[in-house]
Symmetry: C2
Amino acid sequence: MSVATQSPPTIDQALDSDALQELLDGPHRALRERIRELQRRPEFAPVSGLQPEAYRARVLEWMRAIAAEGLGVPGFPVRYGGHDDPAANVIGFETMGHSDLSLLVKFGVQFGLWGGAVLNLGTAVHHERYLRATAAAELLGCFAMTEAGRGSNVQQLRTTATFDPATDQFVIDTPDEDARKEYIGGAARHAQVAAVFAQLIVGGECHGVHALVVPLRDGDGQLLPGVRIEDDGLKAGLNGVDNGMIWFDRVRVPREALLNRYGSVSADGVYSSPIENPNKRFFTMLGTLVQGRVCISGASVSAAKSALTIAIRHGLRRRQFGPSEEAPEVPLLSYRTHQRRLLPLLARTYALHFAQQELTRRFDAVTRAGDVVSDNERRQLETLAAGLKAATSWHAVQTIQTCRECCGGAGYMASNRLGTLRDDVDIFTTFEGDNTVLTLLCARGILTGYAHEVGELNPAGLVTFVAGQAVEAILERIFARQIGQVIADAIPRSDSASEGPLRDPEHLRELFEWREGHITASVASRFRRRLGEGNDAFEVFRAVQDHAAAAASAYIESFVLRCFAEAVEGCADRSLREALGQLLSLYALSDIERDKGFFLEHGRLAGARTKQITREVNDLCDAVSRQAGALVDAFGIPDEVLGAPIGLLGA
Amino acid sequence: MSVATQSPPTIDQALDSDALQELLDGPHRALRERIRELQRRPEFAPVSGLQPEAYRARVLEWMRAIAAEGLGVPGFPVRYGGHDDPAANVIGFETMGHSDLSLLVKFGVQFGLWGGAVLNLGTAVHHERYLRATAAAELLGCFAMTEAGRGSNVQQLRTTATFDPATDQFVIDTPDEDARKEYIGGAARHAQVAAVFAQLIVGGECHGVHALVVPLRDGDGQLLPGVRIEDDGLKAGLNGVDNGMIWFDRVRVPREALLNRYGSVSADGVYSSPIENPNKRFFTMLGTLVQGRVCISGASVSAAKSALTIAIRHGLRRRQFGPSEEAPEVPLLSYRTHQRRLLPLLARTYALHFAQQELTRRFDAVTRAGDVVSDNERRQLETLAAGLKAATSWHAVQTIQTCRECCGGAGYMASNRLGTLRDDVDIFTTFEGDNTVLTLLCARGILTGYAHEVGELNPAGLVTFVAGQAVEAILERIFARQIGQVIADAIPRSDSASEGPLRDPEHLRELFEWREGHITASVASRFRRRLGEGNDAFEVFRAVQDHAAAAASAYIESFVLRCFAEAVEGCADRSLREALGQLLSLYALSDIERDKGFFLEHGRLAGARTKQITREVNDLCDAVSRQAGALVDAFGIPDEVLGAPIGLLGA
């Protein structure tokens, strides 16, 4: 038998990558096309090796060019330069996630964070005053939330905004070194104005964190009195963004500087808010900023697509070793070790793509519904966005690193972009919420069953809240469709090897949801049991923390699988449906394989079955390797945007 | 009960970190101290943001300063400026692995690769001509092995060295674009001379790959006729090293340019070699270069230590959230999620440290023994060096990334060095042998049982060789001490939860060796069965590839555990022994937990036991967190070398 028929051929373009791209592009295809066209222009060509100041200037130019095309804020109301299309904000961001990521972050700070704060936390007066200039990038803003001493614990930040009724002003002040605003994108050079998050103090009483508009620089770019800014200097990546630290020394702003949708102060110094409970108010305000996480999640998926496009094309072209010294060398992607490294990541990237599209759809629906939407729906969106952002950004970091290694020395050349991609994406795991904290936030959302009362971020609050409810009641609310199964799990039932086809999506979904239900139930009952034993609430939280994180991950994987399965079912074209179905099987089975310890430990799968899964993953890798070229072509990343010589379609 | 007694205190300096450092420093403590002292000088302070040309110049200065101290080549014979101490080469490299890694790589190219090629592949004439000047860094060399088209497949490289008897010269030639030398450190700017690997052609016959000394630049740094060099430009890291591409256009060198320890050509054009078999000759020549892998492995462990020192000190100082709004915030390292991320990596770093010391000891013994050493011993060393280099460099990449994330925004600042560390260490997974290829090389070493015949790197050769032997015979040779157990494994025996203390080192070792034996046996029998079924040898290799890689990993982990256990047993001080014993348990149990799917799948552990292991890992994390400060202090990295403000001992 000849070697050629034995080794799987790794190039099979039978799959119509144009049709697949159309499917992936989805309803906002036209917007994606516009952005791709724009970014193919020579002036957007990837750069490397620019000195920070030149890089920052280039990024600012790029951002202005995008604003000039009216692409900055499709989510803004029409009257302020947008299209009243919240999903388009996310899709635009996702599409730009293939090009320079400093540009992406600069863009996100200006339009998403600064613009979003004014839009969502401000009222008509602020909209009229700032939104048009923001959309046109004539007014450059930044988002001053994080403080040096309190990265994740926003509720405890220490900058103060004290109302002075005598002058009808707020006094913004940085009380100590820990309270300086830190890592603020745009602060070091370009921002003229900031949305500053501070404890609002009125008549000696603190009303919690609110945002105020504080000018930083005058028309000539000179810092205003009382504002001190230092450059954060060189970073591990994103050096086209001008991050800085800000200190305020009793800076005075007029009363209208308060973005007062959720809290106002009258001229005579009376505080009022549409939300009575300060905790709920805080989380509602934070909740309106969910777009940032949805966007970062989309860009993470895009970055993984970029890296895979480079590494898979390289793996199809690059040959190394062969059956004998005389025989031709074999493409890297024919090797099982190479397939095993890249193809499960490719399958998961497809899965996350569809999950991201569903998250975007929900974000759009909740945003359009405005105040009509229930707290419950809003909270579900936040839970999902927190968990998915953590999952996608970790996936991106892992994928890019693996792709770099799979491209060997060529992958290490700056021109091939994988190093830059990794360095830039790395911080996606930290900003817009540290991934570990977000995973726990997601767990809280699941465990409290989207209760109407907004729990406290404070761990003790969570514990007490969870303990106050019957575990079964929580489960029933979350897993209505499978509660019987979860309870029946007391008697483990083992999947025998003969139980049926492993690739059946319904079967895979059942396994994922069994895992989700089982972990969630066991975390909830651990909470209850430990508190029942009289343990300190914080210690209980600490002890259960990693278990709760596992529950969040299981929840997210179930969601991802469902979204992918729905996309496959909804696909009209048979050959695309088969290709996607294969990817779905690979995604799900390689996830089960990775986590087989859990399934075996709990008696849900037997050893014979998990070994069968390993063989199935191998077979799927072979099958997917034959379509791998078309599968990355369908990501639709133009050569000019991808940049990397080893990854070009036309190379 | 107060929170303070509930949450584990995370600072406990009862552990004597000086004594522990002395233990870690081992027999070459004085050398380590000398290097640390040198690198604490202000001129060695870490740099960031230098432009490549300035950075390269700085690195060259640094390297010369080290050579001036006589620290470049302790492994060289005394008459050439060394101390006849091969281990010192590795220990010096390892110690320098805490400072700038461009310097480390530049150093490694000059003294290890170039110097090592002359020392190990050359004969007296070459030693006399080059070694003194090399040791003094007066003559700068590079190591031109890798070609653009053949990264890992060195045996098939295409540069030619053709003997011309008329002029008594070799003609060095780059036949096509794929054969250009690529990523050659030192080539772009500084190297005056290169050890060039080429197919040696004498009288029309090819004798395989040999190394020749080829001058690249004249005294003024101008390229010599026929030599073309291009700069590789910006890389993802290590930008203080001047990597470049080299083309040779019929460059003539005298006959003595051939480094002729393993192959000579007489004036009348007759080739001779002390090793008849060309394959064996090739692998023997490559084998003498094992020092590079041993060194990279040591530097990888050092890089992991640097990152952990930064992240653990940060985790002990940085507080976030707390039991209530009024209570003080809690150090990050008190959180289980944080402990779970960092402390198993710390334990594994300790384990790898001791494994690395044992590898260094064996390298030293084999090197000192010279030609007296058996092929078998040499091959064992190569197998171990290949596998351990892959394990340590992957560990370093994972550890640094996790440390970066655990330090949040501060970890992303260039001043805190984690980004640079990651970018520089990244390529350790590729150079001195791609990690996947090295893992398979290690697997080959295990499967062929260190046979005297040198198998072919060519997969078909491996398959045929393995298939030619009885599986049991292979096993008997490798696992003499446990062959009974491996065979008895046909009937799985399950570790019951009551089987005894999980932390017992003997028990842990048994589990590790059971895993190693089981995987190795099953890979070997798969090879035999599939070939018996008449499958194509290459396809069998392809199908079994990832399974073979798993065998190599299991082999390495067993080795690591044994080395660690011996170090613990040999530790005279009781409190140190207890602390190390705890780390050993954490290392071993978290590895079993990670791989519990395997133990469960094969019936070696039951679910109740693996759940117990998870609880034990949690308890060990708590216990180790209390000594974490002292455990990283014992790595002995001076503040001036570590550089990172968040990671300083005195911060």
